[in-house]
């Protein structure tokens, strides 16, 4: 999408600043010990979170994990049972939704069906007492930004899903909120459109310099969009980090498994040195060598997690000069899914465990193609996986 370059505010975060590491600015949103209970059910459980100005923060989690409730508390639709939300230094407790410096883009878009696109977008401005002329010139600008300038007179039911999504975005941005809350903003779009829209969303966010909090269940979307991701499970934030950090360094089996796919081997520490650990795993039927120290004790139970793309599958036994005993297992190809750009192999190990391996199809014709029921060797580098203790 072509955003107007003149309106581009060169935000610090857009230029690569990471205030969550450098701590050189005050957090814009401060959530402290926030809890929300519905009867006996705890939807949000003691969440504390700091989000910085101009961030695009994703709350990621499965359905019922409390991410939407957290968002609705930020918007003011739900009152917290306990805890505090501060936006730009202002305590939000008891502040009604219409008095908050936030706007929300609803999952269903919630466009007013009896109003034209223009009127929908102008609604927020007119409620604030902006004059009609002013409001509609701002509306035109905003519709230009979302590439809907010719659709102002249409009613929402005369628009496609993608167009409605833009109207909803325009309507929620027209008041230039300090904080925009987006509830599954791309959930109703088909895959191709969703991918295009993801980048438009980032462009718009960067050009307007608004802080975004996006709720999503789609990990790919969260990875593409966000500066940081907060992974939620059962009302708690289980990990906060940049997309790469959350993917490559998950802190728990839940996060490893929820973000992307992963093979997890349960095992016990067999050799604990300063610069390496060895894990004996019955799942893997081999000893796993990890080339960095882990704070653990001898014989402690832990889990070795490794991503499918970080494992190699070959017909020949991998011959390594060093550490030849470790990090390879033999198995039988159980299933192959050819997906064009890559192939997914499900390989049944001798222990009976099935691992998932992806291999990018770089050659159009592979001489040494792996097919069903082949005996193969699965191997990985000693830096490829992570050791999880929970």
């Amino acid at each position: 999408m072509a955003t107007n370059p003149q309106s581009k505010v060169s935000g610090a975060i857009a230029n690569g600043a990471k205030p969550w590491i450098t701590h050189d600015q005050e957090p814009f949103i401060k959530i402290s010990n926030l809890t929300k209970k519905f009867g006996d059910f705890t939807a949000v459980d003691n969440v504390s979170l700091e989000i910085y100005r101009e961030e695009l923060f994703c709350l990621l989690g499965g359905s019922g994990c409390g991410k939407s409730t957290l968002l609705r508390m930020l918007a003011g639709f739900e009152a917290p049972t306990s805890g505090k939300i501060e936006i730009d230094g202002q305590d939000m407790s008891g502040v009604a939704p219409f008095d908050r410096p936030t706007n929300m883009m609803f999952q269903s878009y919630a466009l007013f069906p009896h109003m034209s696109v223009e009127k929908n977008v102008a609604y927020g401005l007119l409620r604030d007492g902006v004059s009609k002329n002013d409001a509609y010139s701002q509306v035109n600008e905003m519709l230009k930004l979302v590439q809907l300038e010719d659709f102002g007179k249409r009613k929402p039911d005369q628009l496609s899903g993608g167009q409605r999504q833009r109207v909803a975005l325009a309507r929620s941005l027209i008041k230039r909120p300090k904080l925009l809350l987006l509830d599954e903003p791309l959930g109703a779009l088909d895959k191709k459109l969703r991918e295009e829209t993801q980048f438009e969303l980032i462009n718009i966010q960067e050009s307007l310099g608004v802080t975004f909090i996006v709720v999503t269940h789609d990990q790919e979307e969260a990875m593409t969009l966000s500066t940081r991701i907060g992974v939620m499970n059962e009302g708690e934030i289980v990990q906060v980090g940049e997309p790469r950090e959350v993917y490559e360094f998950p802190q728990s089996r839940f996060v490893a498994d929820f973000i992307g796919s992963v093979n997890i081997f349960e095992g016990r520490v067999s050799d604990d040195a300063i610069d390496y650990v060895r894990i004996k795993s019955e799942d893997a039927n081999c000893e796993i060598h990890v080339s960095h120290g882990v704070s653990c004790t001898e014989n402690q139970k832990l889990w070795f997690a490794i991503r499918p793309e970080k494992m190699t599958v070959t017909h020949k036994k991998p011959h390594k000069t060093k550490l030849a005993k470790f990090n390879w297992i033999s198995g039988i190809v159980d299933e192959i899914a050819y997906q064009g750009n890559l192939s997914v192999y499900r390989i049944k190990l001798e222990s009976g465990k099935v691992v998932r391996i992806t291999k990018s199809n770089r050659l159009r014709h592979d001489e040494d193609e792996i097919t069903w029921d082949d005996k193969v060797y699965v191997s990985w580098e000693d830096t490829a996986g992570v050791v999880l203790t929970q």
Binding site: Q107, F112, K175
Partner: protein, 307 residues
């Protein structure tokens, strides 16, 4: 299987099922609505005579085998001549309009509350709305006499409380008629409004709130405009039968309460002038149908504009 038609009763049903399903209500309407209407229409062009039935025949066979058709337009002309009819029509429409408005004002908050209630309470409340239908309409109107009459419940309570020494005269006034009409027709307004309001997407109200509108503005900008179809449906269901209402003005209204239903009754049963009574009925129908058709067209037009 191919396209070979199936044999037997089942096959017959499969082929004719559609026609059959449509035919049943079609014939029902034919027999019980259109034919009686045609009869009334025919009688409205006859002449009142003292006979049995008390009107002249439209078609007569002269001796030379010629069919004579005699249409009497005078019945319609008569309606214009006597100011009684015009003021009765006018008064009926006025009463119907005012009571529709009052019913709407009473029903809207009720419907809104029911629609916003949790499911279990909602069902109980809806039940309570429908409950009066289990008693005869006539009995319920009679019951109002006991409440409103000079030594009725309301006056007794007011006098016992010392609010008034003299009983209020409520019976046989327009007030009593309005009270009973609003009471009787309330469910017909509540139910379509409820059906509309219960479908209202809550996120629209939240969106309005979020964009800076308080609850009152949200109601007038979002809820009310979106409930217009419910308001129209409910108003139709109240307005149309109230225009022709006979029982309520007859039992509770005074001699001044002029409604076309009462006039119609008098023409039929007191004056035994069936042709004029039929003309009164036909004109009433026309007066009601034309505005409804116009409204419907306007609605369709605005819908198409939106589509």
């Amino acid at each position: 299987m191919g396209h070979k038609p199936q044999q037997g009763l089942l096959g017959w049903f499969k082929r004719r099922g559609r026609t059959l399903v449509i035919a049943i209500p079609f014939w029902w309407l034919m027999v019980f609505f259109l034919i009686p209407f045609a009869v009334v229409f025919k009688i409205s062009f006859a002449e009142a005579i003292i006979a049995r039935p008390p009107y002249s025949q439209l078609f007569t066979f002269a001796e030379n085998g010629v069919v004579q058709i005699k249409l009497v337009i005078a019945n319609y002309g008569y309606l214009l001549e006597d100011s009684l009819y015009i003021s009765a029509y006018w008064s009926s429409i006025k009463i119907a309009f005012v009571s529709t408005l009052i019913t709407l004002l009473v029903a809207y908050p009720m419907a809104y509350y029911i629609a916003r209630s949790p499911l279990r309470r909602r069902n109980v409340l809806l039940m309570l709305i429908i409950l009066p239908f289990w008693t005869s309409f006539l009995l319920r109107v009679y019951a109002w006499i006991g409440i409103l009459k000079t030594n009725g419940i309301i006056n007794n309570v007011l006098m016992w409380l010392g609010i008034t020494n003299e009983p209020f005269v409520m019976m046989q006034t327009d007030f009593a008629v309005y009270v009973a009409i609003v009471y009787t027709y309330l469910p017909f307004m509540v139910l379509p409004l409820f059906t509309n309001l219960v479908k209202l997407d809550q996120s629209l109200l939240e969106a309005s709130n979020d964009l800076g509108a308080n609850s009152l503005t949200t109601f007038f900008k979002i809820t009310l405009p979106l409930s217009v179809p419910g308001i129209i449906a409910g108003s139709m269901l109240v307005f149309i039968p109230v225009v022709g209402e006979f029982v309520i003005p007859a039992l509770l209204g005074g001699p001044d309460t002029l409604m076309i239903g009462k006039v119609l009754w008098n023409e039929f049963f007191s004056n035994r002038d069936w042709p004029v009574a039929s003309a009164v009925a036909i004109v009433m129908l026309v007066l009601l149908v034309i505005p409804i058709m116009l409204l419907r067209n306007a609605q369709n037009a605005s819908h198409e504009e939106g589509a």
